[in-house]
């Protein structure tokens, strides 16, 4: 074994026992999280896995820059509407989750790496929680980036940044809350749908499909069943997230002029519940994957 060291060749020292540190479950969780977080942005993956993250980041940040430029050119006459910008970006966040969450959760099933991981210092719950955390953190970065860009930009282009900062201080909370809850909902639902199948394409389609179906049902309730928009809005996670942003940033759209919107806490509770359901579904599924 390792005690025999052959002096004549440098290359073959024989088999060496490993006596060093073992970090156990915590180390394993960290590497699953880190590897997953990188994979969400296509790092350590082939070029085509980087396409969607790059596109989504560009497509969400550029309109913010344009808005800032317009506002700057008009010397702040053109107000910056956070909520309206978010509306068009939500579907891009969904696209990001749909394209990238399967990189973590389907990929391991597709290439049957999961049984190997599960015979190491990783239980099924550890695996599910590490992957969920990776999806959430990546989405938090993607969701917060455009909002933070707007926020910092709005202060930066102000005539008097210091005064603007004092005035804008109250907006930091809504920015972070909106980003966190958006990531929580879209991340958990994306992870849950991605973990259901070993086929990447199906996983991606099912994430997008779920949100589209929810939107379609919501619109159907509106138009066909004549349910009030306030109620039907709750069926569609994206519409709820948008409405929540309007309330958070104190903005309005036409529908809201007619009747007072539902209170903020209902939207927050809905978002928290949706994310929790997604997280539980992910754990439930990972526990049942046949390996």
């Amino acid at each position: 074994m390792s005690t025999v060291v052959n002096d004549t060749t440098i290359h073959d020292l024989g088999y060496q026992r490993y006596e060093g540190a073992r970090e156990g479950v915590r180390g394993a969780w960290r590497v699953l999280f880190a590897q997953g977080f990188r994979a969400m942005f296509g790092l350590g993956r082939p070029l085509k896995s980087k396409a969607v993250p790059a596109f989504v980041l560009a497509a969400t940040m550029l309109p913010c820059l344009a808005t800032l430029a317009a506002s700057s050119a008009t010397k702040g006459q053109l107000p910056i509407m956070y909520g309206n910008l978010i509306e068009s970006q939500l579907i891009l966040f969904v696209l990001f989750a749909a394209a990238q969450a399967p990189e973590l959760l389907s990929h391991d099933q597709q290439h049957r790496v999961l049984p190997l991981i599960l015979t190491r210092d990783v239980t099924r719950d550890v695996y599910a929680s590490a992957r969920l955390a990776a999806v959430w953190c990546a989405l938090l970065v993607v969701c917060a980036a455009p909002l933070l860009l707007l926020y910092i930009g709005e202060i930066g282009i102000a005539v008097d940044p210091a005064a603007a900062f004092t005035k804008m201080g109250t907006k930091a909370g809504p920015v972070l809350m909106q980003a966190t809850l958006t990531a929580w909902v879209i991340g958990a639902i994306g992870a849950a749908m991605a973990s259901m199948t070993a086929r990447r394409a199906y996983a991606t389609a099912s994430v997008i499909g779920l949100f589209l179906v929810a939107t379609a049902v919501s619109i159907g309730l509106d138009d066909l069943a004549g349910v009030s928009a306030d109620v039907s809005g709750f069926v569609d996670p994206l519409r709820s997230l948008h409405k929540m942003s309007l309330i958070l940033f104190g903005e309005k759209n036409r529908a809201m002029d007619l009747a007072a919107p539902p209170p903020l806490w209902m939207f927050v509770a809905l978002a928290l519940a949706l994310g929790a359901v997604g997280a539980i579904a992910t754990c439930w599924r990972v526990r049942r994957v046949r390996v």
Binding site: Y15, A28, V113, P115, L116, T119, D121, V291
Partner: protein, 308 residues
């Protein structure tokens, strides 16, 4: 080392394991059975990937269900199926697996490089595994099972899909792992010939039940039968041998002659005498002696006897 007691696992109506009680000792152990005999199910239960329906199993004194965590650093698992993500390089993948076993990043990289060298993968380890041949893929699978320095290696059909040369290399590697690295190895296979070459013990299961578990030497040593192959009238030859007072069985063109048992001088002398009779009778009946050898036990015989 590995002990199961009345181990049973059901998949719906199918009994994959049916009250299997076996004790596996340190060394290289072959787990033999036809496809669907329950080999992979047993392996997965020992690894904690599946829970038994009833009964118990222990790995180095740890219960596989209750002390699942303790077993994880003790075993290395090489699955039967493909398990390599195509876009990763072997070096990345093996060190990733090491880190999943809780090794710190630097140690994981060093260990990965070391075990990849042991299995004979050098420059190729920096290439994505998409382009690997089956032989290279099998080496990477073995390397990832070794990387966290387990005490027991569990190899599920390690020679599957390899050409004869690749198979020889893989078997040599397994043998080296068992002998030089000081690990116990449980290697499953449905190919018996290859197990004969590397294993100390063999466990034979069929339809989820234990058929035999023995030291390999006991199974494949010399038997007390002399195999005589002759050219000519076998029937007359056998009759002539029996006339000399020997116990003879005819097997196609061969005569199987029972030899006396025992190690004492008298028995050995009688064994020599029997050889003489066989020769003399051949001369007397005018048949040509083609082959004369002690019959050896083969795993195939054992297997055929067990399953038919």
């Amino acid at each position: 080392m590995l002990i199961t007691h009345e181990l049973t696992r059901r998949f719906g109506n199918v009994m994959a394991l049916d009250g299997l009680t076996v004790s596996i000792e340190p060394g290289i152990t072959g787990l033999v059975g036809s496809n669907g005999a329950g080999k992979s199910t047993l392996v997965k239960i020992l690894l904690g990937l599946l829970e038994p329906s009833s009964g118990s199993a222990h790995v180095m004194g740890h219960d596989v269900v209750r002390e699942n965590r303790a077993i994880r650093s003790l075993v290395g698992y090489m699955p039967e199926h493909d398990c390599l993500p195509p876009e990763m390089t072997a070096a990345e993948f093996v060190s990733y697996m090491a880190r999943c076993s809780g090794l710190p990043a630097t140690a994981a990289r060093e260990r990965a490089a070391e075990v990849l060298r042991h299995v004979g993968l050098f420059e190729e380890r920096y290439r994505p595994m998409r382009g690997y041949s089956t032989g290279m893929a099998q080496r990477v699978k073995l390397a990832q099972a070794l990387v966290h320095d387990p005490r027991i290696l569990v190899l599920d059909e390690p020679t599957n899909g390899l050409d004869p040369a690749g198979r020889d290399e893989m078997l040599a590697l397994i043998q080296r792992t068992g002998r030089e690295f000081g690990m116990s190895v449980l290697v499953s296979s449905h190919l018996l010939g290859e197990l004969e070459r590397v294993c100390d013990h063999v466990v034979l299961i069929d339809a989820g039940r234990l058929v035999r578990a023995e030291r390999l030497g006991a199974l494949t040593g010399e038997t007390g039968t002399l195999l005589v192959e002759v050219d000519g009238d076998v029937e007359a030859y056998c009759a002539a041998l029996m006339a000399q007072g020997l116990v003879v069985q005819r097997d196609l063109l061969r005569a199987l002659v029972e030899l006396p048992n025992g190690d004492d001088a008298e028995s050995v002398a009688r064994v020599f005498a029997t050889h003489d009779i066989v020769r003399d009778v051949a001369v007397a009946t005018g048949v040509g002696l083609l082959r004369l050898e002690r019959r050896r036990g083969h795993l195939e015989d054992l297997f055929a006897g067990a399953t038919t």
